[in-house]
Chain length 147, copies 2
DNA sequence: ATTAATTCCGAGTAAAACCGTAGGGATTAA
DNA sequence: TTAATCCCTACGGTTTTACTCGGAATTAAT
């Protein structure tokens, strides 16, 4: 029941990106974000692929290239980001969009299914209630008070 | 972000045990539950060890032995069961009782920590709001209407 | 006393997932 | 032309998962 490092690193990287480009709207390259966040740039590069595909960021290639946000940070929720990086947040496969079943023919009438549905809904409620803007603002104000 | 089969199988097995012994208070052996739930009895045996250690069930050895609930099903929550089988339900290690950190010295001031705390609380809220009794009753009434 | 049924305990194992590393091509600014 | 950067694919090591197995201990029934 753990989130992967993809999710943890990816979210932190996007908060960084949103905060650092709040005014400027310049591109930031992978290495800068990775070193600031203390994570591998090779790895972070991988994580940005799905985030770009999902439309949360755009990129510019070549020297002086980099990434920037492609939406307003108030229009991106933590849930959006986690689902892009992690796949859907269902705690069991039989609820997933893929339509996988538990295997048993009794899957539809399984008593525990209701539990997983409630849990799934609870998870989504939390992560969809927090926007990237909120986190970026927290990040900036924490940085300020640290001075 | 998936629960293990330990949790899924274990919960189903306990619902079965609670429902089938609702009146009788007799012991039921592993093989009976396993075959009724369509899971491996060797595996289920393993899952009952932590559940026994947590005090949710007791056992009697030898011929005619088996397991029975050790508490009222209304006093056991889904959360209790999942935590016994899965360990704590924190979505990230840095919140766990073990006190592990993300590694970085900035762990305490990490902006995303608030997200994980809210998510952790949301998960626990859901699973602690459902008791084994509720599920056992559902199980029995579903069985009835199937006739 | 013997047998059969059961829990109990520890080991082992195959497959999958996770976490990261690496190399080389394409693109662009300077 | 060069250096910086994104882009894409593949690979390797470690860890976790999901079982399987064998045998000892315990008990009821015969």
């Amino acid at each position: 029941m753990k989130l992967s490092t993809r999710s943890r690193y990816g979210l932190r990287a996007l908060v960084d990106l949103a905060a650092e480009t709040k005014e400027t709207d310049l591109s930031i390259n992978i290495k800068t974000i990775a070193s600031r966040q203390g994570i591998s740039d090779f790895y972070l590069e991988q994580l940005f692929t799905p985030l770009k595909k999902s439309g949360f960021i755009t990129s510019e290639r070549g020297a002086k290239g980099g990434y920037r946000l492609n939406k307003n940070p108030e229009d991106i929720t933590v849930g959006d980001i986690l689902r892009s990086l992690e796949g859907d947040l269902s705690p069991v496969d039989c609820l997933s969009d893929t339509g996988a079943t538990c295997g048993g023919s009794k899957c539809q009438s399984c008593v525990t299914k209701g539990v997983w549905e409630k849990l799934y809904a609870g998870i989504n409620d939390v992560v969809d209630s927090i926007t990237l803007k909120q986190l970026a603002d927290d990040y900036l104000s924490a940085k300020e008070t640290a001075l």
